[in-house]
């Protein structure tokens, strides 16, 4: 059974229809990249999967590991194993990363009927993850994203992902605003999270990130639908030729249909 099954998804925000029949299958253990021009619906897809209520699904279905994802509230989808690395992560002053993550972890454990982790158990748990991602331990006592640079915020998202161990990780334009050095560090973190039980979707506009996080599949999203799919070479083609070619192909097909 696939980890994520999207069938003919239509979604809108306010009065704008953004997703117009998107279908996609992602299996556990795979890394898929979704690329597309600005406004094609990449972020919308991420937000819909993370169950942002302001995005209304008008048609289609989404199954997460066999369960109806669209019926879930955001916190329930999170507890069922969906994790989104935000394009613009939020700052929470006065709340340390440690406190925040333990609260999140325990919300998920509670959902599954597991015993909550107390502070004593949590410490060795996160120390191990920090080592894996080569992040300094002092990070845990800092307030969530407060005073972080763009790169640090993105790195924090990946760190949270490592601690919450999701089934489906969606990276929403994680490379946006990063220079190459920061990108490399973030990519290392993501690669460390690859696992046969986990599906990863990397949403990006530029090909450069995919040099570091090499995808199994690349899909091109244009005007709310996936118009082309291929292997990692597709990303290089897009980089050289731009989206114009694919967009033209897509509208030709649309007219034909």
């Amino acid at each position: 059974m696939s980890m994520l099954e999207i069938r003919n998804l239509h979604a809108r925000i306010e009065n704008h229809e953004i997703l117009k029949g998107l279908s996609l299958t992602v299996n556990a253990g795979e890394v898929h990249s979704i690329m597309g021009p600005n406004g094609s619906g990449k972020s919308t897809l991420a937000q819909v999967l993370a169950r942002r209520e302001s995005y209304v699904v008008t048609e289609g279905e989404v199954l997460l590991d066999g369960k109806d994802l669209l019926a879930m509230k955001p916190e329930d989808a999170a507890c069922e194993g969906v994790f989104m690395a935000f394009q613009y992560p939020i700052e929470i002053a006065g709340i340390s990363n440690a406190y925040f993550l333990r609260a999140a972890l325990n919300a998920i454990r509670k959902y599954h009927g597991k015993r909550e982790m107390d502070a004593m158990d949590f410490i060795p748990f996160y120390k191990e993850k920090m080592k894996l991602l080569e992040v300094d331990e002092s990070f845990m006592t800092r307030s969530v994203n407060e005073g972080f640079s763009g790169g640090e915020k993105k790195r924090n998202e990946i760190l949270q992902m490592a601690l919450l161990e999701p089934k489906l990780a969606i990276l929403d334009e994680t490379d946006s605003g990063l220079d190459i050095d920061a990108m490399r560090i973030v990519a290392n973190g993501v690669n460390a999270m690859r696992s046969p039980d986990r599906a990863i979707i990397v949403i990006t506009h530029y090909q450069r990130l995919l040099d570091y996080i090499v995808p199994d599949f690349v899909h091109v999203l244009v005007d709310g639908r996936i118009v082309k799919s291929g292997g990692k070479e597709l990303a290089l083609t897009l980089e050289e030729q731009g989206y114009v070619g694919v967009e033209a192909e897509a509208s030709a097909t649309a007219v034909a249909v």
Partner: protein, 450 residues
Amino acid sequence: MSTAIQQLPSHLEAFLQLQQQLPVHRQEPWFRGVREGAFTSFCQLGFPTVHDEDWRFTSVAPIAQTAFHLPEIPEDECNGVTEGDVAPYRLEGLAAQLVFVNGRYAPGLSRLPAGHKGLQVSSLAEAMLKERGIVEPHLARYADSSKEAFTALNTAFFEDGAFVFLPRGLALQEPIYLLYLNHGSATPQIANPRNLIVVGENSQATILEDYVSLGAGVSFSNVVTEVVAGEQAVLHHYRIERESTDAFHISTMRIQQERSSTVNSHSVLTGGALVRNNIQPVLAGEGGNCLINGLFIGNGRQHLDNYMKVEHRSAHCASHQFYNGILDGESRGVFHGRILVCKGAQQTDSKQTNRNLLPSDTAQMDTKPQLEIFADDVKCTHGATIGQIDEEALFYLRSRGLDDAAAKGLLLFAFASECLERMNPGPIRNYLAKIIIQALPQAKQSEAVL
């Protein structure tokens, strides 16, 4: 206002003289209209006075009242400057180095880039002739001559400056060094270096602008730099102002940032008699990041004015301003930090911090944060401190064997290092650290320790 009108005949004369001076092949007809418009603006605006809100703490009377002359026509490609003069400013591992003398390009001293397809690092005047296609869409489109007198003056009178262009997708690791030498002379001279930096979509660059005096003599550098950062572009920009204490220096850097771009602008200000450093980023596209990191060190009777105006026009942009000032002797510092958040610029993250250390009782600091917020979903922080060297810290160091001067020097350097720490580690940062130590009062005594 009146000062400009009184001097009108001399300005007009200078303007006409310039038109004649420029060799025929360098008079770019497509730009003439812009120059003339700027000249008209300058005459109408006149030099600002302390009654103008943005110039409240700084009087430019010394500049307005001095009759500056355009520099003499050079006779050689090095404009009278030898390789020996430039030796201290050569660095290893650069992608390119352009040298300007009194605002004029010195091809004999410059080193152009090689091996990067599409990369342009050249004299702006040449680029205006040969690369009009990539210059015209940007030149003089951002810095505003209609409202700012010094920008108008520069646009009307500039002869040359640097043009840097990075094509789409080029990640340039080696820095580009732009050196502006001020060759002193008996008569007060004015130079108007004009720079245009275009960082293409998804490209990356490191650029250093360095203003240096060779010899004494009253001079006025009126600089305008326009920076355009395309989508997802990254620019690490450094500027050093270390001209002599006879020099007047007004610089305006206007930055235009497209979506998801990052511009980190670092300024170190140690020289000049009267310096005004304007930095004006506009975050036009969503998700842009801007860091303005500055250090100014004043001594004697220097007057160092730092004016920032950050404009958030789109959502999800972040701007951080950090300015550290050290004022000794009878120097005077100004920090005027404006943050303008337009309606619709939701989820703006804006932070401004100005920390000032005044080791002297007679130094003076004016700090003015100004927040104009027209969107409601924003996070804005501003903070300022003014103080003296911490007595306890000083005592601690002395109790560990350092003498008073060395201890003070160490603490001053520690304070200045806050600025260094925000720069990426590398050759430019090391270069700047040395310059800072030279400029800090008493840091020399602790050079051994550092």
